[in-house]
Symmetry: C2
Subunit: 233 residues, 2 copies
């Protein structure tokens, strides 16, 4: 990033930020970077080159900043308020990373930022901070550090969109083993929605959505209590 | 581009476009502009000033371009491909409107465009084309004229988002009288979804969503056939 970022290469006033939700079967977390010597915690983000598509820029940038390869990111909102930009924050990040103001000063301008989100199993990936950052870590959504600029608002909006679309998103997300019990599925919903659900209501709703195939029972203990296994159609 | 258009008030490389759905109780239409002497049909769109928020720019711009006041526009997607920009189209629009290339040449660049949509009752509004446009009209979604750039893709995406969110959006949208029958509600759904629905399934789903209050019956003919009236909670 240091060598690549030239004024003329990037579209001015446009950035992206990513909210990467991680899930391990029971807990929902978010990926946060910390910038060198600043105490600024932030969502992984970046800029768009004049000759690359927005989607390509996000895909490549998130991979470079986090070490995550080939995760599916989906756009959720574009943040365009005046208040969200804070030149002081970018100024400190540039200074602490010894980046030339002449060359990188455009980063202090006003930015509209396009938010993307992803939902992955955090036990199956390994992380690597980029050269601007001290660390990259998973934080529980209830215990986020103070985030810079309007990144907290971004997390809130991403979570709202994810929750509203969970019924449609759940099928393709690889958060469960190929075959799973209704209880496992309910645990995914409960962790993401942040609330307990009634077992009978949840089961009825899931079955009525006609997205599940029922398989054999999962025999563990007493046969008459064995739950059915399901997979997505 | 940057140096040639130094006096610009607008953010370079950012535009917005609006998909305004109109509905009259049975038919779904879309608002389309035609540019002077170009045969270009387009969604109403515009640019964002450096010192105004994205939402404010869209609100003001759509009002100026269409004559519609105070409609509620909601963001649905940001289009960021390389292919969507077409300098030839903008060139012709500027030329036919006798606009100075020195001053407006920046409009020929690459643009990321933020899509907004609205859904209003088209019988309750009056339209007024802006000075760039010959006409502004409602077109049935099945009979749209050929649209410029990627505006057809924008309409498709807006319709997809509207359909996916209809259960949540229907309540605040003022598309029905205060009290309405289940049949009237079903007609709204059918027009927007573009398909016929089964009466019993639709009624069961609507009642299970717990968004309706049941009132007195609507007495017209035979009393035992009178349908109940409902309103939104």
């Amino acid at each position: 990033m240091k060598s690549a970022a030239k004024n003329q290469d990037f579209i001015q006033n446009i950035s992206y930020d990513s909210v990467i939700f991680g899930f391990n079967g029971s807990q929902l977390k978010i990926l946060i970077l910390e910038y060198h010597n600043t105490e600024y915690f932030a969502l992984p983000g970046g800029f768009v080159k004049m000759d690359e598509s927005l989607d390509d820029a996000v895909k490549k940038g998130v991979s470079q900043r986090t070490g995550l390869e080939d995760i599916y990111l989906e756009q959720f909102y574009t943040f365009g308020s005046l208040e969200r930009s804070d030149p002081g924050v970018m100024d400190k990040i540039l200074t602490e990373n010894n980046l030339d103001m002449e060359k990188y000063g455009w980063m202090l301008g006003r930015f509209l930022s396009i938010g993307y989100y992803a939902l992955i199993n955090y036990e199956e990936v390994s992380l690597k901070p980029d050269e601007l950052s001290d660390s990259i870590n998973w934080y529980s959504i209830d215990e986020l550090p103070p985030l810079m600029m309007n990144h907290k608002e971004m997390v809130k909006k991403a979570l709202e969109v994810l929750r509203n679309n969970l019924d449609r998103k759940i099928v393709g997300m690889n958060l469960l083993p190929h075959k799973f019990t209704m209880k496992q599925l309910q645990q995914v919903y409960e962790a993401i929605l942040g609330e307990k659900l009634r077992r009978t209501t949840f089961q009825r709703k899931m079955l009525s959505m006609e997205i599940l195939v029922r398989h054999e029972k999962l025999f563990q203990g007493k046969a008459h209590k064995a739950p059915y296994l399901y997979s997505f159609k």
